[in-house]
Symmetry: C2
Subunit: 519 residues, 2 copies
Amino acid sequence: MIANKSQRIGVIDLGSNTARLVILNAVPGYAYRLEDEIREVVRLREGMTAAGLSDTAVARALFTLRLFKRFCDSYPVDLIIPTATSAVRDAANGPAFLQTVSQEIGLNLQVLDGEREAYYGTLGVLNEVELGNGYVLDIGGGSAQVSKVRSNRYQEGSSVPLGALALSQQFVHTDPVEPAEVVAMQQYLAQQLDTIPWLTKKQSKPHRHLVGLGGTIRNLAAIEAARQSYPLNTLHGFVLSRDSVAETVQLLQQLPVAERRQIAGLNRDRADIIFAGALVLAEVMDRLRVESMTISKNGLREGLFFEHFWQHLAYPVVANVRRFSVLNLARVYNYQKAHASHVRYLATRLFNQLAPLHGYGPAERELLDAAAMLHDLGTIISYDDHHKHSQTLIVNSGLPGFSPRETALVALLTRYHRKGRPTADLFTSLLTEADPIILLRLAAILRLAEFLERGRNANVDDVTAVWDDTTLRLTLIADEYPAVELWEAERNAASLMAVAFERQFVVESTAVPDIQFGL
Amino acid sequence: MIANKSQRIGVIDLGSNTARLVILNAVPGYAYRLEDEIREVVRLREGMTAAGLSDTAVARALFTLRLFKRFCDSYPVDLIIPTATSAVRDAANGPAFLQTVSQEIGLNLQVLDGEREAYYGTLGVLNEVELGNGYVLDIGGGSAQVSKVRSNRYQEGSSVPLGALALSQQFVHTDPVEPAEVVAMQQYLAQQLDTIPWLTKKQSKPHRHLVGLGGTIRNLAAIEAARQSYPLNTLHGFVLSRDSVAETVQLLQQLPVAERRQIAGLNRDRADIIFAGALVLAEVMDRLRVESMTISKNGLREGLFFEHFWQHLAYPVVANVRRFSVLNLARVYNYQKAHASHVRYLATRLFNQLAPLHGYGPAERELLDAAAMLHDLGTIISYDDHHKHSQTLIVNSGLPGFSPRETALVALLTRYHRKGRPTADLFTSLLTEADPIILLRLAAILRLAEFLERGRNANVDDVTAVWDDTTLRLTLIADEYPAVELWEAERNAASLMAVAFERQFVVESTAVPDIQFGL
């Protein structure tokens, strides 16, 4: 990260159930990272009547917003983007509340209408998932937003009063929930979804792409992730199946709230309201005829942030999510650009020339490219074992836009860029049967590229690979005699290349050696 | 690390068995970290005769040194400190070799005599271990150095021709080694050690402090670490017992080289020569009557580096190893000094006032102090789960000067500075029976201090703790009404404080609240 150009941006999101402040450290248009976060369960909608928000709820909200404001002031934060959603929007005393907040705390909350809420949530998603055409579902505390995306742009969206907290308060009065309550909730839910023209009946085209966001959906994904011992430490790109949602709905329906708290992955704060949210999700998946949904970690707050971060773009969505997420990670961890770029260049040259031997295409090349850019990431932790640290960092942060399988492969490639016989054991559940051999070959190429650039001075300008049935021969074209590179490639990369491409591996140079190198 | 003040220092060490180049990134007197390392098994002593180094060995050495030089040039490195030890020192053609290296490669190797080699190894050790009075043993490839340390200063030292490679070449000609060979080696060893006056007979005072360094000794420690599933990822401060050395000697004596390679922890490159080194170590421990030795990761190369790093000191050894190792880690990972310092201040105030309740003293306070300085270290990896990352970083890098037990406790304190019920399970083998309760109490204090400084603006100037049998009451003295701090402390730290000190925990403020805070 370029320290002297970075700024802190705080985004406040006062929802019906939860109030959140995220502080992002960013160089607009260049890179960003999450720096701090506070989350308070405010339950602003609790006790709301025709007269509006209750006094207790208002007091809780004021307290929390004051806390957020002080927090921002003491960091300090350069820009605060404070917003509120459905509870304030729907409350009769909303305007009075806003005035109090402005006068007493100095925060001018922007109240998002349903359509803006849908729009910003979608912006957050589109900066994380390559969606193309599809749908976005955001289940909040007070409302749920469904949006339609065409050509990777928000097209239209609606907000319906189907938030997990709002629904629970309206329909759930027994514990565990009674069948009659479930039926009533489902009828109401259907009526509300019927108000959205493009959701009224089951879509004719199945298998459209659906992305989900918001605490309820993320929590349903976390439950499934715990169920399958999911090996990544992030839910970026996690795929939640229709079957899993159905299983969780059934489980939640049987259990009283106290017992729900024992479910692995379930957030205790949500134990009472998550069932209603799960019903909404199940119904929307049903209507869209999708078998699964992709989880987005981004949402409303990130959408608001990206409007600022991509302010120089006509539309605040990055053109290539995958490319940017690799660059963002590299930049945040202060990668050595010249070295990484040259390793990438050599790896790509090797990949392309060896194509007749491996038969891979653009998809595999992109993984190799990402791994080349990120291979030394772990040096931020320590030089010792930095290859292992690179894997840890990627598995922790995830690679937005890449699937879990792809993320695992990129992480594994960085893991094996220096030494070790590549094994995919840790991530078998995410990989296909062909992946271990893909890993082996790409790791061999990356390792070779790394050791051809061990001198870190881009001495090797290009490589030429030729082979027959028994031998793969690589010729280096270099500025000066590549003594270091030949030696390192032979010692550290040759045996893996031989295994990966089932041939003897020989490396030589076109340059004339200095006389002293006649070892 | 202060990027614009940092320099790269390369230290080259051409030993009898191995040639090493380490590149350190450092701001002299402030902080340093290892940036890169190359290690080549040169076996310079192999084939050495009365005429000197063999032609093949010279060619190998020249090749490797040229490689190192190019590597340094391309980084680039600001200062190279190139040295050679016993093989060049002892060789009849040593001077001619040095001239070739100077003319053809441009490296002016400084040949260290035995005493200088002992001195620099000891300098490395003294910057890592608080030794006071004791002994330092360095077993290299060609020679071994024994040094005496008094008042934390190198006093005297000797080099004897007892390197692992030299001894093996001289005495071991069968595989597995024959008893007669072992006897001959032990006789020679005894004669050589008898030349050092203060090592001639068994020392009268037992239990002196012995520190060991060098590849052979570190590798013997790695074997023991694998045997006991040692839970730290670094050998800094590892304690190797006399019994463990005896066990390894016996094991190695029985096994042929090929089978030794199966021993967990053993470095394959050393399988043939490690037995001789183990014999030397066993004999020295015996003569000094020590039951165990402490492992130093630092040695000759670091000693040479520290002479530069501490150039402004009259004697290039830091006054307080422990304090500096905490600071160095904090600085390398760009800690937020103002926040860390204020958390440390509040934690210390709490610790001191609560002394009648916990009964701990300076030793525990120092652990709390270190954990306060390092608690946010993990944010360099990511904000999410940064408490876990802090633990990982400390367990990886170690804390020179702290024992393994202390390192584990500091790591655990950072792990639990935000949430979770402290548990020491991972490190039980390093801890005492009393440690889980120490961990609980110190973690409670650290967490409270952290949340009292959650606003990151040092709002809380001081704290006053009073208690009776049922209640522990904390009063905050603050600049302005500490709404954030009270709220955060109550929500996030109060329950752990209550458990740790077996009392209700109440926190309040002397400052008058703004009228709006009347929640």
